[in-house]
């Protein structure tokens, strides 16, 4: 019991990202409304961002901006003092990608609404079936 609690506590970020991913996937697959699906998609993407940031986290370290002063800027930098910057870099890119995808998805949703007058997938499907 102790070990399981420990396991849960030690990796709770990872459990969270999995549950967020599941929420996102559920919304994308089970929801009928297109905007809901898009929200689900974004939640899925942010879950992965959460995962990456969790990789980068380091106990007892500080943000990855090197302390320096003009006079003596060349003392050795110890990596252990700073949080891993690479996942942050990657996730900046991923956030940008997600907002770009969001923009395109919403644009498509608006187009569909203009054409079908609804955002519910089943209603659109019905219309398609009636007038192919």
């Amino acid at each position: 019991m102790e070990s399981i609690t420990g396991l849960i506590l030690a990796k709770y970020n990872y459990w969270m990202y999995i549950s967020l991913m599941m929420v996102g996937l559920y919304a994308m697959i089970a929801k009928n409304n297109l905007v809901k699906k898009i929200i689900g998609m974004n939640i899925l993407q942010t879950a992965i961002i959460l995962f990456y940031i969790s990789i980068g986290a380091k106990k007892g370290a500080t943000i990855p901006i090197i302390m320096h002063s003009e006079g003596h800027g060349h003392e050795a930098v110890h990596a252990v003092q700073y949080i891993n910057p690479l996942p942050h870099v990657l996730m900046l890119t991923a956030i940008v990608v997600s907002v770009a995808t969001l923009g395109v998805a919403l644009a498509l949703a608006i187009r569909l609404y203009a054409r079908f007058g609804t955002l519910e997938e089943d209603e659109i499907n019905d219309q398609v079936r009636e007038a192919p």
Binding site: L34, L44, I48, I55, T93, V97, A105, R115
Partner: protein
């Protein structure tokens, strides 16, 4: 210093930006800039391939940083021919579809060119890069532009495109998650570096999960049955111009990525010895081939038929890659190159036909051999290649695939391939039967009846024949391609 790899990828990007700016100033400049960009890219890819032939594998360090710190383009025997095929096919399809774009898009044509170029940039970048995360970014570029391109089409195109977007994003997210797992376990994103670090971790569940996630993501994007749900809608409702660009390239580049992941990131030693998925995947591929063929058979429209042929072809390549012997890998890689040409030829021909009639339903195709002999001639060559008739290139890759299947003892895959070839014969000859006969049933207009030839625009027909000639040329020289590129790549 050899800057070809940089030009290869940057040229279409720069051209895309220039077009987007020029669109507001002088519209007539857009098309020449686009051709220039892709032309430069194509020439650079030839340069890259030539260098690979003489020097073998080489690296281009972006920003001058050595990997794994920086990002490097890695060009080797495997991706050099893919680069040539992708940039060449993109150039051909751009030139071919100009009229279609100008007619359908009107004032938005420059935007369309820009999107096309960006999509090609993404695909070329994916092919050339040596960094797993960079691949994701480029994948997203080609996907986002791909969504926009597929959305321009008939009434249902936006719906198909939104579905494509949702599924595509799931695929890309899976890939990203897989790469994240790999990074967590190894601390690097560089493919070559990963392959050095991974053997120590082969027993790990996390690595296995990463492999599965990456594979699932790629398969979603490559439309391997049963993950193909987005493809038929997206490619059959999209504008012909976008279908001509995306259908030949997108799935093929994803198959290339799969090969890269299997061979470079995870070595065959891991894929085939540590985990034993090949039995399952080859079965899946066989099912994909059969299902794709059968669904193609059920269609009454040329375009939808072609779309399902693409699904079946993905099964060919995935199966070949997973059969797990040299011959089958050779077949898969060769088929990748051939399929770019075959699909290009097929979709260009469809675009040419569709330009002259309302739909590509079979019943509308009557008498086409008389009215559009050149387009149909090229379509026949493409069909021969897809069926697998020598000297068209499709035969030779099928040869290796079949041989690989026999070597691996996978007779189900062998049977699936043969079955699909047979179905392809039926598919295309059903089509030719329609197209051969003019509307009236018996003894047509006789020797003296005059039939007006009503061909597609010259640029389209010329490009179509360029693709058809490519099919023959690759067929005749497939031995050299195998000897000079594919064999060293598999060493």
């Amino acid at each position: 210093m050899n800057q070809y790899p940089a030009f290869l990828i940057i040229a279409p990007l720069l051209a895309a930006c220039l077009i987007a700016s020029a669109a507001w100033l002088r519209r007539s400049l857009c098309f020449p800039i686009a051709v220039l960009g892709l032309g430069t890219s194509f020439l650079s890819s030839l340069g890259v391939a030539a260098r690979v032939l003489t020097d073998g594998h080489f690296q281009y360090r972006m920003g001058g940083w050595a990997p794994p710190l920086g990002i490097a383009l890695e060009v080797d025997y495997l991706n050099a021919p893919v680069l040539v095929a992708v940039s060449g096919a993109a150039l051909v399809s751009l030139i071919a579809t100009r009229q279609i774009i100008e007619r359908e898009q009107g004032p938005k044509a420059p935007v369309f060119y820009t999107l096309m170029l960006l999509a090609v940039t993404g695909m070329l970048g994916m092919t050339a890069t040596g960094d797993a995360f960079n691949l994701y970014v480029l994948l997203e570029i080609s996907s986002i532009t791909g969504y926009a391109l597929t959305a321009s089409g008939d009434r249902l195109a936006p719906l198909a495109s939104l579905r494509y977007l949702l599924l595509g994003t799931i695929g890309a997210s899976f890939y990203l998650l897989g790469v994240g797992l790999l990074y967590m376990m190894t601390g690097t994103l560089n493919m070559a570096d990963l392959s050095h670090l991974l053997p120590a971790l082969y027993g790990s569940d996390a690595i296995f999960a990463a492999f599965l996630l990456i594979l699932c993501g790629i398969w979603l994007k490559a439309a391997l049955f049963p993950l193909h749900a987005w493809l038929p809608g997206a490619y059959s409702h999209a504008s012909h111009a976008s279908a001509c660009l995306l259908a030949p390239l997108m799935t093929k580049v994803m198959i290339y990525v799969m090969l890269r992941v299997m061979f470079t990131v995870f070595t065959p030693a891991y894929v085939f010895e540590q985990i034993s998925l090949e039995g399952f995947v080859v079965t899946l591929a066989s099912v994909a081939v059969v299902a794709g063929s059968l669904m193609a058979l059920a269609q009454r429209n040329l375009r939808r038929m072609a779309v399902y042929i693409v699904v079946a072809e993905v099964g060919y390549m995935v199966g070949g890659a997973w059969l797990g012997n040299q011959t089958a890998w050779t077949g898969a890689i060769l088929h990748l190159l051939n399929d770019v040409l075959m699909t290009l030829c097929l979709f260009l021909a469809i675009a040419a036909l569709a330009g002259r009639m309302e739909t590509t339903d079979f019943k509308n195709l009557k008498g086409l051999f008389s009215t559009m002999p050149f387009s149909m001639g090229a379509l026949v060559l493409g069909a021969m290649s897809i069926i697998g008739v020598p000297p068209a290139c499709g035969f030779f890759s099928k040869w290796f695939l079949l041989k690989g299947a026999i070597e691996a003892g996978r007779f189900d895959f062998l049977a699936a391939l043969l079955f699909s070839s047979l179905i392809n014969v039926v598919l295309f000859f059903r089509l030719f039967e329609c197209a051969l006969y003019s509307g009236d049933d018996h003894h047509g207009p006789g020797e003296h009846g005059h039939i007006e030839i009503h061909e597609a625009p010259l640029s389209l027909v010329a490009s179509l024949w360029a693709a058809a000639a490519g099919i023959l040329a690759v067929g005749f020289y497939s031995g050299s391609i195998v000897n000079n590129f594919i064999k060293p790549a598999l060493m």
